[in-house]
């Protein structure tokens, strides 16, 4: 049997994963899942952390177990991972996206997951498949799955095993989730700046090339602002508006109930 019975993914963490997966159809994105494992071998995911990929390959996304371990440690130190109850959280899994392709993990994904499991038996993998459209029915589709890896026999190929996953309601969005959500545009901007600086430091480039590269940088940053920062800011403002209205309504209800209680 597997070391994990099921995964409970809080809906606000799901929101951040989905935002990240839907951010680009050109390449796979990846991140870490933060949470805890209870005594019933259920993995609770409370939030996620978006990972920067130093080596951006369009067709594959994975980082070595050493890189994962380093990223996890850094995450656990730099982020306030303790949730509202004060319980310490840790990295319990990873997620990545499959734009335009099937939700099932590839052979590489299964092997990568197996390597992560060597460090931590309870480590789980999530995959989000997006930008799929049924040409006939004109229906868009998004899928997500949870898996672990298992070896039938020693020396044989790794295979995936299905792990049940439930998205648990969490109406209010947690602090860590919100902070992770707004990390995305910052990470994209940093990646672009790093790429640009590396290019710009090349000494043999003539001024025309430099001017061109400068406008490429401008263009790329504008794309980020248009596709990511803009809609994210929009969503934040709309959410704030929604909450303000909820607060007014809830406040009225609270006053009404307080009066009712006093009259009893």
């Amino acid at each position: 049997g597997s070391a994990v019975h099921a995964v409970h993914l809080e809906s606000d963490a799901f929101l951040v994963c989905m935002n990240h997966a839907l951010s680009t159809e050109k390449e796979e994105v990846m991140g870490l899942c933060i949470g805890e494992v209870d005594t019933n071998r259920i993995v609770h995911i409370h939030s996620v952390i978006i990972l920067r990929r130093s080596d951006k390959r369009k067709d594959r996304v994975e980082i070595s177990p050493e890189q994962l371990s380093a990223a996890s440690t850094e995450a656990e130190i730099s982020f306030e991972l303790a949730d509202m109850t004060g319980r310490p959280m840790r990295v319990v899994g990873w997620y990545h996206s499959h734009p335009h392709i099937t939700v099932w993990p590839s052979h590489v994904d299964v092997r990568t997951q197996a390597m992560y499991q060597m460090m931590d038996q309870g480590f789980v993998g999530l995959i989000f498949s997006c930008f799929i459209e049924d040409k006939n029915t004109k229906t868009g589709r998004v899928l997500y799955t949870c898996f672990q890896s298992v070896q039938a026999q020693k020396g044989s190929e790794y295979e995936r095993i299905e792990i049940p996953i439930h998205v648990v309601p969490h109406e209010a969005i947690g602090k860590v989730c919100l902070e992770s959500a707004v990390e995305l545009p910052r990470i994209l901007c940093q990646e672009e700046q790093d790429t640009y600086r590396r290019i710009h430091s090349l000494t043999h480039l003539d001024p025309i090339t430099k001017i061109h590269n400068g406008s490429v940088f401008t263009k790329n940053l504008c794309s980020q602002m248009s596709a990511i920062s803009g809609p994210l800011l929009q969503w934040l403002e709309d959410r704030l508006e929604l909450n303000k209205h909820s607060i007014i309504k809830l406040q009225k209800e609270k006053e009404r109930l307080t009066q009712e209680l006093a009259s009893l």
Partner: protein, 388 residues
């Protein structure tokens, strides 16, 4: 001749937000969609007889307003009224309503009859011609529950029928990301030309930095700073909403407790036997030396439990509450009391006495001996029947 080519666009954040609304609910959810409709004439081919005009119509979904419960803007028969939509919209303008959405689990990507009715009525009420109905249908993809699927599409009414329009999720990937040039051209003359040298300062700041790069970087930094500020405000508001919901929960529980307490105080619990205080006082007055008459508790065999005698003085004012007893006491004290007292001391007498009293409504007749005691009892009953 006009060709309508309509696409619906939504950002990944707006789509995730819609999914988030449904994930937090066990039931179906619905709401309004706001955004803008942009029409653009794409191609105009004119020949001698006909003008072929291709219109590209883009409906941009910008945000959604979730309804807190179903049927909030339409009746049970699908009638939509503006008065019902207004409060849902609150500060938003009606012109920005470009459609509505519904999310239902494990159902097909097909409009139900009710949804069609509501949609037609919406079209009558709202100014927007091409109103969109967005349908999201999540379902489980595997039996184990490891994989889940969400399907989504848009429907509009066109040429007397509902047609299915694909929803395009705008993202970073569909915007062409230009590549940097890593090598320059092979001609040094260009870089060293007078023209380039002269105009150089217009593009470069002191040093090697490009003005354009600096400008866009600072604008982007400021944008991220603005986003950070709004994010903090959102976080505060989320905690405020959470706190209020907690408070409401506590208040509801307190109210429930209170009303339950009041209820129990009003209706006495039927299984708790209440002591007949008058009877107890009467018996104590009439038979002060018969403790077996002071207990309400019998064993399974029907024998009085003397250990549970009532010892409390109920402070019943006999002359006012039980005047007939006094009369009876008066007469009895003369003849029956001594004999009764003697009889009481006999073991088992009290048991038979109690049984007689308790079984007066059953057909069971006392099969024991001791007829003289029975006579005594009957004698008493014949003289007086006190009413309580």
């Amino acid at each position: 001749m006009e060709e309508f080519n309509t696409t619906v666009r939504i950002s990944g954040f707006a789509l995730s937000s819609l999914m988030f609304h449904h994930l937090n609910s066990d039931a179906d959810v619905e709401g309004l969609i706001l955004g803008e409709s942009v029409g653009e004439e794409n191609c105009r081919i004119t020949d001698s007889q006909i003008d072929h005009i291709q219109f590209e119509h883009t409906i941009n979904i910008q945000k959604h307003i979730p309804c807190h419960k179903l049927h909030s803007f339409y009746s049970n028969v699908g009638d939509v009224s503006e008065e019902k939509i207004r409060p849902i919209l609150s500060d938003y303008q009606e012109e920005n309503v470009i459609g509505w959405y519904r999310q239902r689990r494990n159902t097909r990507q097909q409009m139900t009859f009710m949804e069609q009715v509501v949609h037609q009525n919406m079209r009558k009420i709202l100014s927007n011609r091409e109103l969109v109905f967005m349908l999201l249908t999540p379902s489980q993809a595997t039996a184990s529950g490891s994989t889940h699927r969400l399907e989504f599409s848009a429907f509009i009414w066109h040429s007397s029928q509902y047609i299915n329009i694909p929803i395009f999720v705008s993202n970073l990937g569909n915007l062409e990301q230009q590549d940097y040039w890593r090598v320059s051209g092979t001609c040094p003359s260009l870089g060293q030309s007078e023209a380039v040298k002269q105009h150089r300062t217009q593009f470069f700041c002191s040093g090697d930095e490009l003005k354009e790069v600096r400008n866009i970087s600072s604008m982007n930094d400021d944008l991220l700073g603005e986003m950070q500020k709004v994010c903090k405000e959102v976080e505060k508001s989320e905690r405020a909403v959470e706190k209020l919901q907690e408070d409401l929960k506590e208040l509801k529980e307190a109210i429930k407790e209170h009303s339950e307490k009041n209820e129990t105080q009003k209706h006495a619990s039927p299984d708790e036997p209440k002591e007949n205080v008058l009877l107890c006082s009467a018996l104590r007055t009439l038979f002060p030396d018969a403790p077996s008459l002071q207990t309400q508790t019998l064993t399974v065999q029907g024998l009085p439990v003397l250990e549970l005698c009532c010892n409390t003085d109920h402070n019943v004012d006999i002359p006012t509450k039980l005047p007939l007893i006094l009369e009876n006491q008066h007469t009895r004290k003369k003849d029956t009391a001594p004999r009764l007292r003697k009889k009481c001391l006999v073991a088992g007498y009290s048991q038979r006495l109690k049984r007689k009293r308790k079984t007066n409504d059953t057909s069971e007749s006392a099969s024991d001996s001791g007829s003289d005691t029975e006579i005594e009892m009957n004698g008493q009953n014949r003289s007086i029947s006190p009413t309580f």
